[in-house]
Structures are given as C-alpha cells and as structure tokens.
C-alpha cells in the first residue's frame, strides 16, 4: 500500500517541529479568541465551549507531535502519479508558482480575468519548465477569453473585464 506506517528512523524530522509550533499557536489563538466572546443570559452553553475544546485539542496534538518527532517519528510524504519523492524539494519552482498566484490576485481587478488568467496559465507553465512561451500565452489567452465568455453568456456572470471593458 502507498501509505505504510510512519517509519522510525535515526534522522529527526526537524521541520516537523515547525508544524507542531504552528499547531500550538493556532490552538492557543483559538482559545484566546474564544475568551473574548460574550455568553448571553439564559444561554447555558454559549459560543465558547466548542472553540475551547478544539483549541485545547490542538494544543495537546501539537505537544504529542513534538514528542513523537523527538522520538524519531518521520512523516510519510504523499506519493502520486507525477511525484518523484527521491528528489529533494524544488523550492524555486514552488516559489515561482506562489508568486504568479499572488500576482494574479493583485492584478485581476485592475487588468481583468481575460488578461490575468492568460498570464497565470503561461506563467505557471513556464515555472514548471515549459519552454514554448509563445504557445503557452496563446493557449492561456484562448482559455481565459473563452472562460470569460462562458461565464458571461452561459451563466450570466460577467467576470471583471478590467482594462478590456468595452472590448470584450
């Protein structure tokens, strides 16, 4: 099976401490946030109990995870069709993709989906190693303009036209 038990090993998975720390912070924040809620008169339960339970559970899990990590518990990363786990993580590509997604969310209302969608497709393909930039831009443009018209005509939802207002 693909998901066999998490292995014990001599190597300590240090980044798992980061995960535990993040979970701890989320759990604590959940508890603190819940403390600020008011419980009305005549409301025997109120909105606090559920977040208290969840936040405390999260804190407990963070501690357990940290202990397990220290004892040599290593995460079993997920496999997949196109995933080759024998290579180290390629952070540059991930960074490029995240950058492109951020650019898309910053520019979409200004330039409109028809333009940023095309850039998103071409940029992501480029980041993932495609070197046929012109073709990718063309494919992206066809996809984004077609999806704009699909939403406009078939679903009656006009996506942001941006600077192409009046052209589309």
């Amino acid at each position: 099976m693909s998901s066999t038990a998490a292995r014990r090993s001599d190597r300590v998975d240090r980044s798992q401490y980061l995960l535990a720390a993040a979970l701890l912070l989320v759990g604590l924040y959940t508890i603190i946030d819940a403390r600020g809620l008011d419980v009305g008169f005549g409301d025997p339960v109120g909105p606090r109990i559920f977040p208290y339970v969840i936040g405390s559970g999260m804190v407990l899990l963070a501690v357990l995870l940290a202990v397990a990590t220290a004892r040599g518990d290593v995460a079993e990363a997920e496999a997949g069709e196109d995933v080759d786990l024998t290579t180290p993580a390629d952070w540059l590509t991930v960074g490029k993709l995240v950058g492109i997604l951020v650019l898309n969310l910053l520019l979409v209302n200004l330039l409109g989906w028809a333009i940023t969608g095309a850039l998103l497709f071409a940029g992501a393909a480029w980041a993932l190693g495609s070197r046929t930039l012109l073709r990718d831009v063309l494919v992206g443009a066809v996809l984004s303009v077609a999806s704009w018209y699909f939403f406009y005509v078939a679903l009656g939802v006009p996506l942001t036209p941006g600077i192409l207002d009046g052209v589309l």
Binding site: S2, T4, P47, G55, V108, F121
Partner: protein, 505 residues
Amino acid sequence: MDTLGLLLDGLQSALTLDNLAFAGIGVLLGTFVGVLPGIGPAMALALLLPVTYGLDPTQSLIMFAGIYYGGMYGGSTTSILLNTPGESASVMTAIEGNKMAKGGRAAQALATAAIGSFIAGTIGTLLVAFFTPSIADQAVKIGAPSYFAIMLLSLVLVTSVLGSSKIRGFVGLFMGLTIGLVGLDLSTGQARLTLGTLELADGIGIVVVAVGVFALGEALWTAAHLRRKPLDVVPVGRPFMGRDDWSRSWRPWLRGTALGFPFGAVPAGGAETPTFLSYIAERRLAKPGAGFGEGAIEGVAGPEAANNASAAGMFVPLLALGLPVTATASILLAAMQSYGIVPGPTLMADQPDLVWTLLASLLIGNTLLLLINLPLAPLWARLLTIPRPQLYAGILFFASLGAYSVNQDPFDLGLLLAFGLIGFAIRRFGIPVLPLILGVILGPLMEVKMREALDLSGGDISGLFSEGLSIFVYGLIVLAIVVPVALTRLRTPQDVVEEEEEVSR
C-alpha cells in the same frame, strides 16, 4: 406508493432530452477531469462546481451525478494505464490492472473496470433507493444528542481507521474543525477567528477549502517533486472482453459490490477498506492458475466494483441523515446547500421528487458512462500524455477561476492560496485530507446539535446522554478506539509485516 414506483417516476422526470444532455455533459466533463493525473473524483467535482451555477437544482443534481461517476471511472483508467494511482481507492485496482495493461491486456482491464463499475453502481443505487426512505423515517425521531454522537462516531471512525498515523489523522481533523469555527457564531452572531476581517464573517466555504487543499495543494506539491522523466502510458484499443474474461469477472463484480456498499453506507472512511478487502478476497478465492501478481482480471474486477458500490453507499447517510462521510459527499452537500436543499431526514418528506430524480439520474449517469466511455477509452488514454507543465498550469487556472467567479473578490484568491499552502504542508507531513474536509463540514453541524442538546438540559453535561441511542453510539465510539489498539497489541509485529508484504507482492 412503493419504492419501485417512486423510482420510476423519478426516471420519468429525469429522462427528458435536456436532462439527458446535462447528464451526458456531466459524464464527459467528469471523465475528462478524472482521467487527468493527480485529480480524483472529489477534486473533479469541486473544480467543475462553477459550471452548474446557471442551472436549476434538478438539472445541476443530474449533472453532478454524471460528473461524480465520470470522475470515478476516470480515476480507474488512470491507475490502470499509469502504474501510480492518484487516489487511495484506486491503489488496489492499479496492482493487477497495470500488470494486465503491460501484458497487452489493457483493453480487457478497462472493460472489466467499466462494466464492473456499472453493475456495482446500479446495484448500489437501487439499494440506496430501497434503504434511504426507511432510514429517513427512523432518523426523523433522532434527537440532537444522538445526532451529535453519530457525527462524533463518524469523525472518530474516519480519523482512526484511515491512514497509518493516528496522531496525523487527528491533526487533520482538528485543522478542519478550526477552519469550521471561522465566521459568525450562529446563535449569538459574534465573530470567531475572523481576524477582524469582514470577508471571513460568513465563514469559509467548503468548496474553497476543497479546491485549495486538493487542486492547488496537489499542483504545488507536484511542482516541488515533479518527475522529470514522463511515465510510460500503455497504448490501448477499444475495450472488450472475451468469453473467458466474462466468466472470470462476474463473481468478483458481485462480491466487490457486496463488500463495497455497506462500507460506503457506514461512516468508516469510504472506499479504501472495501477495495483492500475485495482484493484480498479475490486473491484467496482465485484458482491457482489465475496469475495473481501477473495481471489477474479478478484483481481488477473486484476492487473496482467495491469502489463504485461504496461510492453509491455514501448516499445513504448523506440523504437520510444529512451526514457526509467522504470528501465527495461533503462537496455534494455544500452544492445542495447552495440551492437551499438541506439533506437529512426531512428532505425525503419535503422534496421527494428531488430525491427520486437524483437517484434516477445516478442510474442514468451510470448507464451513459458505460455507453459513452467504452468507445472513448483510447481518447481518454491520450489525455495522460498531456505535458505536465501545461497540465498543472491548467489546474491552477481552473482552480483560480472557480474561486474568483463566486464573489469576484481577490480576497477569495488569497484564501485559495492559503489553503493551497496548507494542502502542500499536509502532503509534506503525511496528514490525511479526509478528516480535514469532514472537520470543516461536520464541525459547525456538531456544534449546533451539541448546543441544542445542552440547552434542553440547562447546560448540564447529562444532556448529551439523554437518549438511549446516543449512549449506544458512545459505546461504539469507545469500541472503535479500543479494539484496533488491542488488536495491534495482541498481534505480533511479524504478522503485520507479512500482511504488508502479501499486498505489495
């Protein structure tokens, strides 16, 4: 009227030309997206949700049914023709299926998968039609304490049955529950975990979570570990089976169905367990010359039928109790809620037409799948050779389009990216996705029921135990936690190793 009559009525209203067209489009789109490597049925459904925005509830349900079964079939095609399955439910299909494909029997493997899925899906849907009304009748009488207990049971089962690391299962669950907390508290209207933003006051939609975690997370995770050498795709002609294949397939189909349906209908974590059990059963029952390990058709027929029967089984808790037990069911539930349809015991009484049309369209979608996809298999196989940069760029494109189109607010794209990064992290740390998704959708429901129960008892904890059924369910929860632990203690480690070897061999 009896069940059969109601189902026939449903068939009648589903069988218009328009509706057939929607079912057909759904099947084609679902298969298209499902075949793409890295995309399972749940992701296919989440990505294709925007396509149904303009439709009325009945038509969109019909299209969902097509997308759902199409996505399932697409997934098995991928796992037979490529050796590495994309989703846990196809793992067992891939073992013998890919061996068959490499031995030049890809056509037969695809055919037994398709026909087995059809048979299992049809029997499964009929069973749903027969069971759901009576369960819904009983479920109307279930009070808040028992509802709370049942939801807790389903979360415990999904979290502790699936995956190898219990602690990671619970981490996923609690991440989901925390996400479910975000938004205004339903009864007092106070903001929780909104970080002071207005956009989060409405809470976080399950679709954004699902698309972010499944689609963006998968794309980012694959980007970090992209296989530089493309996988070999086995070429395939039109699927067909010889006389011998039929006689070897029909028993596994029925046994797989019998195993799959109950596992889908009880909240024990979807198709992973029954496909595994079906594979083991066929392996044990096979004649010595069946060639298990070298591409035995029984090893494809059984697990595929189990997979689809459990996919049908999940409609029982969804329709009768309003309780989703898989990621796909969670997305279906969210889609139904967006049309103001609230699945649960009263749905059967309030909108019987809708339920029967849905069940009828599941049957139609299943039939169309067989008719359309057997001839199209060679075409689908070619999708597997799409260059990966463009494939994942396309996934990012459509994920962003889906998230943006709902409110046309860039904030949603930011939220999508945040869940994409969470999706990346849970893949890196081996945290299962299903408990997270179920936590998001069941958390808020559980809180409502818990507060209802405790309001009645004036805040006293005994309110949770005020029904016989709830006490019984808590008993089951204790068993579900204690029994697996006790079993692993009793079994010597050597047995476990042998069993794992047997499967991977």
